[in-house]
């Protein structure tokens, strides 16, 4: 069987591409890191790949607003083919393929309108904006996965502990109709919670003041998934801040990190589709 092939975008201040590629490799896939200009200028095609990834980082230094300048580039810059990159991405999604955005990548997807994309026409309906604390923070957060979440990325995950590292992760929703559609379609698939799994607004459990404590969203088909926490930063047990105690309390504990499961899920899902 052909290996699942993940495309990891980099360039212009994206900076989590290496761990993202490592995550896919550890999950059994092939991963290629490609500079955005290879696509925008050189005409590199994304359509040979199974899953397109926008990693975290500070594209264009978070200038104007996080993810905004990169989203503009994807929307407006003409590729050698004459199309824009967003048109290519929408074709990619129409072909049944998958898109993941983490942190800055999630901000880009939201600002492109690819998440939650309720109407299917890629118009921005929610935003990720400055944290209530008005500062960048690096801290680990418990997240709970909505039951019945239909994105394959989160299959069989109920709860996950991941680091957040952002200054603009507060999810805000433009209007009530958008909010109710997100709820009704079960698109708010990941939320900040306490250690027991109870969703909470309390800082710093909810590190940024997100509406409904949303940490991650998917589109209606579940193919596009974005989240603020960094699953690619928890690939091994030894990334966990309390790994010493975990190992003491649970001799024989798996050396895999919880974040790796998200990548294993999507790789397994694509493999199962191809079968």
């Amino acid at each position: 069987m052909k290996k699942v092939h993940a495309l990891v975008i980099t360039g212009f201040g994206i900076n989590c591409e290496e761990e993202m590629a490592a995550a896919y490799r550890l999950a059994g896939a092939e991963a290629s890191i490609v500079h955005l200009n290879d696509i925008l200028v050189e005409g590199f095609s994304i359509h040979d790949f199974d899953v397109l990834n926008f990693p975290g980082g500070f594209s264009f230094g978070d200038d104007i607003a996080s993810g905004r300048v990169l989203a503009n580039k994807i929307k407006f810059k003409k590729l050698p083919s004459g199309k824009t990159f967003i048109e290519e991405i929408r074709e990619f999604i129409s072909a049944g393929k998958y898109v993941l955005g983490v942190c800055n990548g999630f901000q880009v997807l939201v600002k492109l309108g690819l998440l939650p994309d309720l109407s299917g026409d890629a118009v921005q309906q929610v935003t990720l904006t400055r944290n209530d604390s008005s500062k960048f923070e690096d801290r680990w957060c418990h997240c709970t996965v909505a039951s019945g979440a239909k994105t394959p990325f989160l299959k069989n995950i109920d709860k996950i502990y991941l680091p957040v590292r952002h200054g603009e992760g507060k999810l805000m929703i433009s209007e009530e109709s958008v909010r109710s559609q997100i709820v009704n379609n079960n698109l708010a698939v990941m939320a900040y919670c306490d250690a027991s799994g109870r969703i909470t607004d309390e800082y710093p459990l909810n590190p940024n003041g997100s509406e409904m404590s949303i940490a991650g969203l998917c589109n209606r088909t579940g193919q596009v998934f974005g989240l603020m926490p960094h699953p690619e930063a928890f690939l091994t047990l030894y990334n966990h801040p309390d790994w010493g105690r975990l190992r003491r309390d649970n001799p024989g504990i798996s050396e895999d990190g919880e974040g790796l499961q998200i990548f294993k899920n999507i790789v397994a899902h694509i493999e199962s589709e191809e079968r």
């Binding site: 212009f12 690096d138 805000m172 433009s174 003041g209 930063a233 030894y238 010493g244 003491r248």
Partner: protein
């Protein structure tokens, strides 16, 4: 308002969406004790580019607008009636405006046009609308104290109905004049000339230059090139930069006469650097190589030290300071410092290093200081906040984790803070068959400048940092780094080096092109540069300014002519600007042209070897210190809480969380572990995803001890850094043959002016004596442990003068260590792991409260400073490593500031546990010293009950039993059966965490 400029006002929809406005209102209240009412933080985009109305509104609504949180207004301001004041904060002409540049790129994408990037067309300003109607003076106070820095920002303020739009405009007059400077002058005029031109050269140096221009050979050569008999401004500036203390380390190279009247010793020291620093490393190299440990690859003679990581890769490590700029613009100084330091490992050898992590160590005055400030001095809190923000942006936006650091507070850092930036990188051993750590240059190779454009930024940075700060320090010494520009450049360099397109590279830091080309030219023995080919941010720079400018994010690349096309193609694809500015030669001269005209020619030999040797005197008469008589301590729990809240001990979480410490996914021991509250001794980072190899990283710095004994201060700082690495599971080097476990150290000296002057620096000899003692300790410690210096820096003039006062830093040394760990999964963290585990202290406790945080509570210094006993330390460290190999230790925390009582409770932080211990096994030294003494080379460890026998047999009399980890989260220390400290851990955690939490 100027007609040609259009603008867009981007405003939060509502205060609900404006955390930044709320933060500013809080700050106004907290720091200026003023009620501002609501503050609305908005942005103004000034667009100096011809756009139709449709284009403008399209750009605004589709590219700038966030429909969820913003409203936009094109060509008009939104100033609701309830706001009675405004402040706009613009960047001054020529100051880096990254956000404007990004907006310009997005405009080009939107219009589908190429827009000339040579000119800044979009300028971004912050516009604060304030509910309260303040007077102009108050608004200026708010602006200059909280919102910007008057050296780099232009403020407009007043009532919104009188709003004034400020458009930064750069003077565009071309000025390529070259002046000739007569130096055949009497001595007093020579000194005046040096001062007026900010050359920072002394009389002997000026006379050496005079002599060079008297030489007949020099003169005939100059005549042939059409150069005058006297120097051009460009030549003098190049000499001043190259000979600056900053670049030439004249004091570390000086001949020193050292007299110690306490020991009746007088000796001649032929260069501190050669004798102690290079000397120790050469001795260690011999000892290492005798034992088959051949991992020292390149030391001292490149931008960073290089050691072997494994068969495939090398590890590069550099730490340096950026103090003077941080004193006058904390944000700009720090971000420039960290980005500048990043370029060292990026440009070591051929270049293209992949940066693995940053560290930072900061020394500040008291952020809660309430006294008067002198003249231009910034409040320590502003310096603290600005520096932290600079490091945050510099590290986070570059995608480099800040894994480790330390902050030292002492009132003597209130004038000049110390800002130490460290960066490690990994570089493959070979690119296309060439050793990646080597720099080769041949005649005919091209000189290519990469990265940002050149402006007046930082002109005289090298000479400026070589003098004390005063009211007249040039504001052009301020620069603002651009992480995004550098990130593009770093990504490009990585690809270009992999493809073998670059022969070698170096960073353009202090001294700009003058420094980088001047140094590279020594490899081929000559270079010829044409300054007309250097791209400028704006015209109006004189040729010498182009050569000396310290505009950031620039590197000089050495490229073989046959690779030029491919390299330029790759650069354009990756949006990095390259310029071919000259070629390397082999005729022994550095020649600078501007167009057709030669404007400078200097013999490289004179440039690099011509500076007269400095002669200095050091005199040590001892100091008068004694142990204090303290009042009887009535409540030790209260003392412990005060210690936990002390600035040098308290939690630095407020700072740590603003740094991304785990980007790259390789962090194993983070600054805070457990539930997020457990402080750690050293960072552990894995070096790849393919194995569990990694490095432990630590910092040793204890300036306070130097007030009693500079030798022990330096030795103690060294020991601190070593024991932190041992604590997290590291292993001393060279214990076994060929095990490849490298240690690599950067030493960074920051001292006050130590050059004796009867009037200006009467205690200069005493200060220099301290520096000598610090160096002696460096030599003794490093050679004892076989732990080598591989790179480092000295900063010699850390004094701040103004209003007739002078604030000098205490002599300070930082040892930054990185050591290989063969398996990071064997790392040990500081926090307790299970109730019922046994707690021990390892190592000897002495009556050593001198210089302690405990004495500091009573405003006492004392005399019994902690002494390093290297033999005992080394034996203990070996025993700890052996115990770790048998997995006998569950947690390990080194004892430092605040002593044992602080160390044990810190091991409870971040867990659900408490501790119940007795101090009796070590209290022979006295209760105060047992609880709070800071004797070196000690650890608090916990041990699983089933390992007790094996542990005690292993450590024998080096382990002193204290008590047990408890499940009740209570902290109790007893002496002879009676409790002397008892408190819930949560109370102590609050005391530890609250000090800096209220910074905002």
């Amino acid at each position: 308002m100027e007609k040609s400029v259009s603008f867009v006002h981007l405003v939060p929809k509502d205060v609900v969406y404006d955390p930044e406005g709320k933060r500013i209102a809080r700050q106004i209240k907290k720091h200026l004790k003023l009620e501002s009412g609501v503050v609305l933080a908005s942005k103004l985009f000034l667009i100096d580019y011809p756009l139709s109305d449709d284009e403008l509104s399209g750009f605004a609504s589709q590219c700038l607008h966030d429909p969820v949180v913003n409203d936009i207004y094109c060509g008009k301001l939104h100033t609701p009636d309830n706001y009675k004041s405004y402040i706009s904060i613009a960047k001054m002409p020529g100051v880096t405006d990254d956000e404007g540049t990004s907006a310009q790129k997005t405009l080009a994408d939107f219009l589908g046009k190429q827009i000339d990037t040579r000119t800044q067309h979009i300028f971004v300003q912050d516009l604060c609308l304030i509910e309260k109607g303040f007077d102009d003076k108050t608004l200026f106070t708010i602006a200059s104290n909280l919102l910007g820095n008057k050296l780099i920002n232009h403020f407009e303020y007043g009532s919104p109905e009188n709003f004034k739009l400020y458009v930064p405009a750069v003077d565009v007059v071309v000025d390529n004049t070259v002046e000739n400077i007569d130096i055949f002058l009497p001595d007093d005029e020579l000194i005046r000339l040096s001062r007026d031109m900010v050359l920072s050269l002394d009389l002997a140096e000026m006379k050496a230059i005079q002599n060079y221009y008297r030489d007949e050979d020099v003169n005939s050569k100059r005549a042939a090139l059409g150069l005058p008999e006297i120097p051009t401004d460009c030549e003098l500036e190049i000499l001043a930069q190259t000979w600056s203390e900053h670049c030439k380390h004249k004091e570390f190279a000086a001949q020193i006469t050292y007299t110690n009247t306490v020991t009746n010793e007088t000796k001649q020291i032929d260069s501190l650097f050669k004798t102690y620093i290079k000397g120790s490393t050469e001795k260690i190299r011999e000892s290492l190589e005798k034992n088959g440990n051949k991992w020292l690859i390149k030391v001292f003679n490149d931008n960073a030290g290089v050691v072997e990581l494994n068969k495939k890769d090398t590890f590069i490590w550099k730490v340096e300071t950026h103090n003077s700029p941080s004193a006058i613009d904390p944000y700009g100084g720090a971000i420039t410092g960290i980005l500048g330091n990043n370029r060292d490992p990026l440009c070591t050898g051929i270049g293209g290093g992949r940066l693995l992590f940053n560290t930072n160590v900061l020394c500040f005055g008291d952020p809660y200081y309430e006294g008067e400030l002198i003249d231009t001095q910034l409040h320590p809190r502003r310096i603290f906040e600005g520096v932290v923000k600079g490091i945050e942006d510099g590290g986070n936006k570059s995608g480099i984790p800040t894994v480790n650091g330390s902050i030292v507070f002492d009132e003597r850092y209130a004038g000049k803070p110390l800002v130490y930036c460290g960066t490690a990188g990994i570089i493959p051993k070979q690119y296309k068959g060439r050793n990646a750590w080597e720099k080769h240059i041949d005649k005919g190779d091209r000189i290519v400048m990469a990265g940002g454009r050149v402006g007046k930024d930082g002109i005289h940075g090298a000479t400026f940092s070589s003098t004390e700060l005063n009211e007249f320090s040039p504001s052009s010494a301020v620069q603002i780094g651009s992480p995004i520009t550098q990130k593009l450049c770093a990504d490009f360099l990585e690809r270009a080096t992999e493809r073998g397109l670059i022969k070698c590279s170096t960073d353009n830091g202090a001294g700009g092109l003058s420094s980088s080309i001047g140094e590279l030219a020594t490899i081929s023995n000559g270079a010829r540069v044409n300054l007309e080919n250097v791209p400028l941010k704006y015209s109006g720079l004189k040729p010498w300014e182009v050569f000396l400018s310290e505009s950031q994010e620039r590197m000089s690349l050495v490229v073989e002519p046959e690779h030029m096309d491919e390299l330029f193609g790759l650069a354009s694809e990756m949006e990095v600007e390259l310029s071919d500015i000259g070629e390397f030669t082999s005729d022994g001269d550095l020649v600078i042209c501007y167009g057709e005209k030669t404007i400078a020619s200097l013999s490289l030999d004179f440039l690099h070897e011509g500076v007269p040797r400095k002669m200095m005197s050091a005199l040590w008469n001892g100091i008068d210190v004694s142990e204090p008589t303290l009042p009887q301590v009535a409540d030790y729990t209260y003392v412990l809480k005060r210690l936990l809240s002390a600035l040098n001990i308290c939690s630095k979480e407020w700072v740590i969380r603003q740094y991304d410490h785990e980007v790259k996914g390789k962090s194993i021991v983070k600054p805070l572990m457990g539930d997020g509250n457990a402080p750690q001794d050293a960072a552990v980072v894995r070096t790849s995803f393919d194995s569990f190899e990694g490095v432990a990283v630590s910092n040793g710095i204890i300036p306070r001890y130097g007030d009693i004994d500079a030798y022990q201060m330096s030795a103690g700082s060294f020991d601190e850094a070593v024991r932190q690495i041992i604590s997290v599971g590291g292993e001393l080097p060279n214990l076994e043959k060929s095990n490849g476990l490298f240690w690599t150290v950067n030493d960074n000296f920051c001292v006050p002016d130590s050059l004796y002057d009867e009037v200006n620096n009467p205690d200069g000899k005493q200060k220099l004596a301290k520096l000598v003692q610090m160096c002696e300790a460096l030599y003794d410690m490093s050679t004892y442990f076989d732990i080598p210096m591989t790179s480092g820096k000295d900063s010699m003039k850390n004094d701040f003068k103004g209003g007739g006062k002078k604030i000098s830093v205490p002599p300070t040394i930082l040892y930054s260590m990185a050591a290989k760990m063969s398996d990071v999964r064997k790392a040990v963290t500081s926090n307790f792991k299970a109730a019922g585990d046994l707690i021990y202290v390892l190592g000897e406790t002495h009556d050593e409260l001198g210089g302690s945080e405990f004495y500091q509570l009573f405003d006492q210094l004392g005399a019994n400073v902690p002494v390093v006993r290297p033999e005992a330390a080394k034996q203990l460290y070996i025993a700890v490593t052996e115990a770790n190999k048998k997995s006998l230790i569950e947690s390990c925390h080194d004892i430092s500031d605040g002593g044992l009582a602080v160390c044990v409770v810190e091991s409870c932080f971040g867990t659900s546990f408490g501790a119940d211990i007795s101090i009796d096994t070590i209290s022979a030294v006295g209760l105060n010293a047992a609880l709070f003494g800071e004797s070196h080379s000690r650890f608090v460890v916990s041990v699983a009950p089933e390992n007790q026998d094996q542990f005690e047999t292993h450590f024998k009399d080096r382990a002193y039993y204290l008590g047990k980890v408890t499940g009740d989260a209570n902290y109790c220390i007893t002496e002879k059966g009676a409790a002397c400290i008892t408190a819930p851990v949560s109370d102590l955690l609050d005391a530890w965490k609250s000090t800096l939490e209220i910074m905002e």
